[in-house]
Structures are given as structure tokens and as C-alpha cells.
């Protein structure tokens, strides 16, 4: 069997993977090098962004790994939505590396992670390659491998901070990931049993959907996959690892968990839902709809409710991630292609805003070296930020308002509209109406923090020199402002 490979189309996956290898080679040749790693990684990510961006503007998907006719199926196909998600993942990875490695540039600051820049860069790049692969994967094998590739390096990255909380967080994440993998493997197996095919192609799926027994297996497969992905997306009741791991890891790694990992998880879920949406018109998949709606609404309510009481900004963002995961899944409830596009757009908007929030928290809190017990983080440390550091304060306020879905954070508002649109139908409107409670709770969560930022406070100390994080903030801030003016860049 011959497989036609379009190497160019694969760049968003191959560039970070090759970058990871190259970083390790450079490290073997010159163990003392620091900035070359960053340079190589950024070039690799940049190449990926360029091709993913090209894919996001094309009407036709970028395909690769295509089988010969008569099957003709492609194992890799990145449509516009996938292109946007890949771009987000790649840029987020660049931001993470700037914060991890860039901050040590001419500042004498210690490495935030054990193992130095080479290990950090290689792991981040590997995870990114996994994320970009899973977003475009069209067969179960690539899908599962990509998903795990996106997860496993993260566990190591969390652990490498080598603080007690970090190890605890890494252990929690490890247990969760193993459990999640078991469920995913089971789900994949059930899928193969039901459809008789190891791809997400619709032909086998359609046949399976017509036969009641096979439909049952298929629904079971989807529910098990949903549970497995629920862990990765931090949906209630699979969310318990999130606050522990988020708060334990170094902030740049938390940012990676909140962006790259989430993109991988949602990309995976979207692939499943999109495949399912092409066949479920009759009979409808009530079980899947109820499961998705339940997960979305409970996550939204519980996540925001608990976020209301947090004092550590990272824990607040962690619980808000649980709430936002509910919003990401909400449009999928409709089981339509439009719903998957809305979910991806919502996630992209969330990723941009939450990245800016994490970068500002990192800048205010200052760098922490590996193994150094960190200063306690408190929301009150950011009090008065809007008065004392105009740029930091304004960007954090914009990010929080965007997460809350209030203008001037227009991108967040448009994302909320997009997320509600697929479920605002005469059949599903009660789901949307319940989401109103989630929206209001979310506003309360973020406004509480905004209130502190606007108040008088003592956050006026001079910022430490963190060139990498500053550049990262510039990237994130520009993305946030530009997409707020032109939301069509994300919603395409």
C-alpha cells in the first residue's frame, strides 16, 4: 500500500518534533548553550505557525498521508478550524518557552525547571507536536498517539519544578493521565468494534449507526471517550487534578497545561463529535447529548462557584478553567458541524485570554527557580495593578473581561455568542437558559479580581527583569487586542 505524503502540509507537526530533536542534538554538542535552544525552538514553532496560518486561510483542508484510491482517505487533514487551533497551540508553546528560557537571558536568574533549557524546550516542543497532530488526525491510531504525546511531556514538565507541591501536582496528573488513557483505549476499541474501521471516516460509521446493536456499542464508545477526554479538558467530575496541578507547577508550565493541553483535548473531542454529527440526524443520539449537556452545565456552575472563593490567582484561573471547559463543550451538545467550529473558536478565544492572565501573574509574582519554595501567591498582590503598572493592569483587566465575556473584551463576548448559538434552538434552549447562570457566575468571578486591580493597593514594586515574559506579554496582548477588534480572525 502506497501512502502519498505531503510534507509541507505536515509542517505544523513535523517542525516542532524536529525542533525537539535538534535541541537535544545541540545540547549533546554544546551542553552549556542556552539561547540556541530557544532560537531553534522559536524557528521551528514559527515555521509551524506559518503553515498552520496558511491552512487557516484556505477553503480546502491541508491533507497529507493519503491512501491510494479506491480508499483515498487521508490520515491527516487540517481544515480552517484545525489551522486556527494549531496556530494557537504553536504560539502558546512559543510563549511558554519565552517565559521558561527567555527570562534567564542576561538576568542571572536560575532555571525555573531542573534539566535546564534543553530538556524544557524538547519537552514543550514534543507536547506541541502531539497537540497539532491530534487536531488534524483522521484515524484512531494517530489520534490516540498524538493525545498521549501531548500529555506525557507535560507530566515531566510539572515534576521538573522539583518543589513539593510540583511533585504532588505531577503525581496527580500522572494518575489522572493513566486513568484517562485507559478509558481512551477502551473507547477506541469499542469504536473499532462498532464501526469495523480504525478511522473517523463516515462510511463505516453510517452503517454502524443504522444497526441498533452496533449503535449501542458506538454510543458506549463515545461516552467512554468523553469520560477519558473529560479528564484532559477538566470537566466536572473529572476535574479534581486541575487545581492541584495548576497551582503546583511553575507558572509557564501551568500556562502550557491551560493552552497546549486543552487544545489537544478539545481537538480530539471535536474529531469524535464531528464524525458523529454526520450520522446522528436519525435516530438522534440522546445519550450523548444528555452526557455532553450535563458535563458542560455542571462544569460551568461548579467551576465558577468554587472560583469565587479562591485567593491564589493561579487556583482561581484553574477553577475558572473548569468553568470555561463547560463553555467549550456547550456548543458540541448540538452535535452539528457548526457546533464544533464554535467550540474550537471558543477555545481559541479562551486560550488567548487565559495566556495573557497567566503571563501577567507570572510577571507580578517574579521568577522562581527550580526547587525554591515559592512565595505564596495571593490575589491581593495584584491589588492596584491598574494604577501602578498601567500596561500590566489594563491587559489583565482586558483578559479577565474577555474571560467573563464583557466588552471591551469583545473576543470573549463573541465567543460566548458563538458557544450559545448552536444550542439556541427550539429543542435545546433549556440548556442555553441554564448556561445563563454559568455566565452570571463567571462575571462575578472575574469582576471580583478586576475590582481588586482597580482598587488602591501596594502592587507598586518595580518588576523584575524578565525579558522573555515581557516579550510573551507583548505577543499575548497584541493577540488579545487584535482579535477583540477583528474576531473573525479566530471565528472562521
Amino acid at each position: 500500500m502506497r501512502v502519498a505524503v505531503d510534507w509541507f502540509a505536515l509542517t505544523p507537526v513535523l517542525a516542532p518534533a524536529l525542533g525537539a530533536l535538534l535541541v537535544l542534538v545541540i545540547d549533546a554538542i554544546s551542553p552549556r548553550a542556552r539561547m540556541p535552544h530557544l532560537g531553534v525552538a522559536l524557528v521551528a514553532l514559527g515555521a509551524g505557525v506559518a503553515v498552520a496560518g496558511y491552512g487557516a486561510t484556505r477553503a480546502e483542508p491541508l491533507r497529507s498521508l493519503c491512501l491510494e484510491a479506491p480508499e483515498g482517505a487521508c490520515l491527516y487533514a487540517a481544515d480552517r478550524m484545525a489551522g486556527v487551533l494549531q496556530m494557537c497551540a504553536l504560539v502558546a508553546a512559543a510563549v511558554v518557552l519565552l517565559m521558561l528560557v527567555g527570562d534567564t537571558w542576561r538576568t542571572g536568574a536560575g532555571d525555573p525547571l531542573r534539566g535546564g533549557p534543553a530538556v524544557s524546550a524538547a519537552l514543550v516542543l514534543a507536547a506541541t507536536a502531539g497537540a497539532t497532530a491530534v487536531v488534524a488526525a483522521q484515524d484512531l491510531g494517530t489520534w490516540l498517539v498524538g493525545l498521549e504525546l501531548a500529555t506525557l511531556p507535560m507530566i515531566a514538565l510539572v515534576a521538573l519544578a522539583a518543589r513539593r507541591e510540583a511533585l504532588h501536582g505531577a503525581l496527580t496528573l500522572l494518575v489522572t493521565s493513566v486513568l484517562s488513557f485507559a478509558l481512551l483505549a477502551l473507547g477506541v476499541a469499542l469504536w473499532v468494534i462498532a464501526t469495523g474501521s480504525s478511522t473517523f471516516a463516515t462510511s463505516g460509521l453510517r452503517d454502524a449507526w443504522r444497526v441498533p446493536e452496533e449503535r449501542l456499542v458506538l454510543v458506549a464508545a463515545v461516552l467512554v471517550l468523553l469520560a477519558g477526554l473529560g479528564f484532559k479538558l477538566s470537566l466536572v467530575p473529572f476535574h479534581a487534578w486541575t487545581p492541584t496541578t495548576y497551582a503546583g507547577a511553575a507558572v509557564p508550565i501551568t500556562l502550557a497545561l491551560a493552552t497546549v493541553s486543552k487544545i489537544a483535548a478539545l481537538g480530539a473531542l471535536v474529531t469524535v463529535v464531528r464524525a458523529l454529527s454526520s450520522v446522528v440526524q436519525a435516530p438522534s443520539a440522546t445519550g450523548v447529548v444528555v452526557a455532553l449537556a450535563g458535563l458542560a452545565l455542571i462544569s460551568m456552575l461548579l467551576g465558577n462557584l468554587i472560583a469565587l472563593r479562591q485567593v491564589d490567582p493561579v487556583r482561581l484561573l484553574a477553577w475558572s478553567a473548569v468553568g470555561q471547559a463547560g463553555w467549550v463543550v456547550l456548543p458540541l451538545v448540538a452535535l452539528t458541524p457548526a457546533g464544533t467550529v464554535a467550540a474550537a473558536g471558543y477555545l481559541a478565544a479562551y486560550v488567548i485570554a487565559t495566556a495573557v492572565a497567566f503571563i501577567v501573574v507570572h510577571l507580578v509574582h517574579g521568577p522562581v527557580g527550580a526547587g525554591v519554595p515559592g512565595r505564596a501567591r495571593e490575589l491581593s498582590h495584584t491589588a492596584g495593578l491598574a494604577r501602578n503598572h498601567l500596561v500590566l493592569g489594563s491587559l489583565l483587566i482586558l483578559a479577565l473581561l474577555s474571560l467573563a465575556g464583557l466588552p471591551p473584551g469583545v473576543i470573549g463576548l463573541v465567543a460566548k455568542i458563538a458557544a450559545l448559538q448552536p444550542v439556541a434552538t427550539p429543542d435545546l434552549w433549556p440548556v442555553a437558559a441554564l448556561a445563563v447562570v454559568g455566565a452570571v457566575l463567571g462575571v462575578a468571578v472575574y469582576l471580583r479580581w478586576v475590582t481588586m486591580l482597580l482598587a488602591a493597593g501596594r502592587s507598586g514594586g518595580p518588576l523584575q527583569r524578565m525579558p522573555g515574559s515581557r516579550l510573551a506579554l507583548l505577543i499575548g496582548g497584541v493577540a488579545l487586542v487584535v482579535t477583540s477588534v477583528l474576531p473573525a480572525l479566530v471565528f472562521r
Binding site: P407, V443, L454, A488, R492
Partner: protein
């Protein structure tokens, strides 16, 4: 393009003032704000004269277009918004609230005005929602930062209550809009008029119920009104004026534009409930006004009563009722602005205006201010010759002649609402007796001069002129609205 500029100027200048203008001295910040407000007014007039419209795709996937335009229903509200914007900035010349830099205050005022502008000019249902939300944060800032300097907890509470109530309302409205847009297949108001009316009755009723519930929070309609008194009591004078004269109008305008225009049959089924709630609001708020001791809260409750008349007019489903609601909207905007400037100014001077504490007699210490107060109260109780008269009279008449609802329900509402007008007279006289005549327990001498002067006097003069003009020549408004109002209701009346 002119219309787009009229929206962009206040928003961009406002943002600039908030972000970059913190170091600006008071006079320069004020001058920038004033120039922007006047430019907005000028651009609006130009847009009205040239019949400016704008339409461009914004977010294709959502079907969200930057579609802007003016018609007879939005034009009076746009003029009101621009004029109130100028007056609030003018008022800041003499009465600048503390709590932040002058540029932050003026920036928030301008952004709120710009957001309201976008709301009234939007011709796309989803854009309408986006613009609707644009106003929230600036107004929250006004309440939260510049509110009553004596009571930080009340400010925080009022601000949060304002934003949470209105967000829950607006998201419900958004769901209604999305169901409507999804079912009708378009989000442009001009097309929705026909496409919405063609929907099955069940969908229409669902959409109308969602939209009316969501918008009722903003209007506000009893029992969703509880955020308004708190917000008014703590907001600075300028903030109260914006709340009463601009924000509440967004709710009633939304009712006209969305449920009444787009899903007439569905609205007809919801309307009786709305009429009953509006009527309860009139009586409830009137009764509260008889005992409320905080002057600003009292004016806030009287706002709820006035909006009850507007809602009753809308719910009657008649052209007369709709016309009454449209002019009642404008009249309430002008009168409540006038009363809030008077009472807010007194609060700035005296620290508090409470009827259970000794008060100086306004007629002795500040005859001019006293005259304006009496005029505002007289207008508020619906005296002929002043602005509110037409709205209340014809709202009651519209409800009386309406064919909607079971049996005599709307006639009962009309009769009860007329009783509410008697309550209005009672509480207006109460305020007049206590504040103007000075019949409080122990009359006192004010510690500082009370008489109005400077910018405040100019603002009050403008509002007095508007109150009398609308009262004597209601055709100023009606001539603009009548054609479009009749066309809008053709759908309801045709059946």
C-alpha cells in the same frame, strides 16, 4: 460612515482618556471630553440629515454584521443620548465626583454614551446585543468608582448587583435573539420583520418570552427591578442621569425592536403578563415612594413607575400605546435627568438628602433650584403641558382600547394604572412639601450656599426647556416616530 464615526468618536476618545489620560489636568480632560461629546452630537445630526447607514461583515461565521442605520424609532433616542452625553460632560465642569481621575470619569461617560449609540443604531440583532453589553463596564465603573464616597460597601454592592442583574437579563435576551436568528435565518432587523412573523406560533412565543424576560431586567419591570434603586442611590449624579435617561431606554427600545417588531404573534401572547407586571410596578413603586426617605431612591422608584407606563403602552399592542411608549421614553429620560441633577446636586452639597432628617427649605435658600424641582415633580406626576403627560395619558388609553388578553384584563390594568397616576401626585406633593416648602421636623440653615450656578444651571436650563417643549409640542417627537411606529405594528394589527 458618519453614523459609524458618531459611535467610534466617543468610544475611542473615552478609551484614550481611560488608558492614557490619567495625568491630564482636570480642565484639559474636561475639554477633550466636551469636544468629543459635541463632536458626537454634530456627527449624529449630520448622520440624521444625510440618512447615513453602514453595513459590513464583521464575523462571518456568526452572521454578525456591522449594520448601522437610523429610523423614526431610534432617531429620538439617539438625539436624547447625544444630548444627555453633552449635558453630563457639561455637568462635570462643576460637579466632578471623587473616586478617580477626571479623565477616568469622563472616559467612562463617553464610552457609555458610545455604547448606547451603537445599541440604538444597530440594525443587526446580534450586533444589538454586543452594543448592549458595551455599556455595562463603563456604567459599572461610574457606580463602583465614582459612587457615594461615604459608603464603599454600598458602592461595591450596588455595582455588582447592577452588573449581575443586567448580565443575566442580557444573556437571556441573547438566547432569545439566537433562537430567533437561527429559526428565521437572518439577523438583519429589516429582514427579520417578515421572517420572524412567518415563524410558527410556538417558536414565536418562546422567542418572545425569552426576549421579554431578558429585556425586562433592563427596563426594569417589576419584580426584576431590585437593582435599580441601589444603583441610583449610590451612583454619582452623572451616572444616575446616564442610567435613567439612556440605559433604561435601551430596554424599552429592545422591546420595540425585537419582540414587538419581529415576533408579533408571540409577543401578543406574552403581552398580557407584561401589562399586568407593568401595572403592578406602577402601583408598587408609587406606594414605596410614599414612604421612602432617601430622595435618590425615591426618584429611582418613581422611574420604575414611569417605566411601568411605558411598558403598559408597549404591551397594549396598539399604535397609540406604542406612540405613547416612545414619547414616554423620551419624556422620562428628560424628567428623570432633571430630577437627578437637582437631587444629586443637593446631595453633593448636603451630604445626604433624607426626608427623616431636618432639611432646609429650598424655596427660601435656592428659589431657582426650587422652581426646577417643582417643575420636575409636576412633570413627573403627569401634569398637562409637561413632558410626561402624553406618554401616561395615551398609555392608559392604549391599554383601554387594546384587544389583547383575556376578557377585560387590559382594561383593568388601564384603570389601575390611572390610579397609579394619583399615587404619583401624592408622592410628588410629599417631596414638594418636605423639600421645597420645608415642613421637615426642624428646619435648618444650609451650611453652604445652595443655589444653582455655573454649569449646573446651564444643564438644568436645557432640561427645563426640553421638558416644556415636549409637553407643549409633542409633535416634535411624534412627527419623527409616527410613520415607523404604524408600520411596525401593521403586523400585529393586520391579524
Amino acid at each position: 460612515m458618519t453614523l459609524l464615526a458618531a459611535i467610534a468618536v466617543p468610544i475611542v476618545v473615552g478609551l484614550w482618556l481611560v488608558l492614557a489620560g490619567r495625568q491630564l489636568p482636570r480642565t484639559s480632560a474636561w475639554s477633550v471630553g466636551m469636544v468629543a461629546a459635541l463632536a458626537t452630537l454634530g456627527l449624529l445630526v449630520a448622520a440624521l440629515v444625510t440618512d447615513s447607514a453602514f453595513d459590513r461583515e464583521w464575523v462571518g461565521v456568526l452572521g454578525l454584521r456591522l449594520a448601522l442605520g437610523v429610523d423614526g424609532i431610534s432617531a429620538p433616542l439617539l438625539v436624547l443620548t447625544a444630548a444627555i452625553g453633552v449635558l453630563v460632560v457639561l455637568l462635570a465642569r462643576s460637579n466632578l465626583p471623587t473616586g478617580g481621575s477626571p479623565s477616568l470619569y469622563l472616559g467612562a461617560v463617553l464610552m457609555a454614551t458610545g455604547g448606547a449609540f451603537a445599541t440604538f443604531a444597530a440594525r443587526d440583532a446580534i450586533l444589538f446585543f454586543v452594543a448592549f453589553e458595551l455599556v455595562l463596564i463603563p456604567v459599572w465603573l461610574l457606580i463602583h468608582r465614582f459612587g457615594d464616597p461615604h459608603d464603599a460597601a454600598a458602592r461595591k454592592d450596588a455595582g455588582l448587583r447592577f452588573i449581575l442583574f443586567t448580565v443575566s437579563g442580557s444573556v437571556l435576551m441573547l438566547i432569545g435573539i439566537l433562537v430567533l436568528v437561527g429559526s428565521a435565518g437572518t439577523s438583519h432587523f429589516d429582514v427579520l420583520v417578515d421572517a420572524g412573523a412567518a415563524l410558527p406560533l410556538g417558536t414565536q412565543t418562546l422567542v418572545a418570552a425569552l426576549l421579554v424576560t431578558g429585556l425586562a431586567v433592563k427596563v426594569p419591570v417589576f419584580p426584576l427591578h431590585t437593582w435599580l434603586p441601589a444603583a441610583h442611590a449610590t451612583a454619582p449624579t452623572g451616572g444616575s442621569v446616564i442610567l435613567a435617561a439612556i440605559l433604561l431606554k435601551m430596554g424599552t427600545y429592545g422591546l420595540v425592536r425585537l419582540p414587538i417588531a419581529s415576533v408579533p404573534d408571540g409577543f401578543a401572547r406574552v403581552a398580557p403578563t407584561l401589562a399586568v407586571l407593568g401595572t403592578i410596578g406602577i402601583i408598587w413603586a408609587g406606594l414605596v415612594c410614599l414612604v421612602e426617605n432617601d430622595a435618590k431612591r425615591l426618584i429611582a422608584y418613581s422611574s420604575i413607575a414611569h417605566m411601568g407606563f411605558v411598558v403598559l403602552g408597549l404591551a397594549s399592542g396598539t399604535v397609540v400605546g406604542l406612540q405613547a411608549a416612545l414619547i414616554g421614553n423620551i419624556a422620562h429620560g428628560v424628567i428623570s435627568a432633571l430630577l437627578f441633577v437637582v437631587i444629586g446636586g443637593l446631595k453633593d452639597r448636603w451630604g445626604a438628602v433624607r426626608f427623616d432628617a431636618p432639611l432646609p427649605a429650598l424655596r427660601e435658600h435656592a428659589p431657582r433650584l426650587g422652581f426646577v424641582l417643582i417643575l420636575g415633580l409636576a412633570a413627573g406626576l403627569g401634569l398637562p403641558g409637561l413632558a410626561a403627560f402624553w406618554g401616561e395619558l395615551f398609555a392608559v388609553y392604549g391599554a383601554w382600547t387594546s384587544g389583547l388578553g383575556p376578557g377585560l384584563l387590559l382594561r383593568v390594568c388601564a384603570a389601575v394604572a390611572a390610579l397609579g397616576a394619583v399615587l404619583a401626585a401624592a408622592y410628588a406633593l410629599r417631596v414638594g412639601r418636605l423639600l421645597w416648602v420645608g415642613e421637615a421636623q426642624t428646619p435648618v440653615e444650609p451650611t453652604a450656599p445652595t443655589e444653582t450656578s455655573g454649569a449646573e444651571r446651564l444643564v438644568l436650563a436645557a432640561l427645563v426647556v426640553a421638558t416644556v417643549t415636549i409637553g407643549l409640542v409633542p409633535h416634535v417627537v411624534w412627527s419623527v416616530t409616527s410613520a415607523d411606529a404604524s408600520a411596525l405594528l401593521a403586523g400585529v394589527l393586520g391579524r
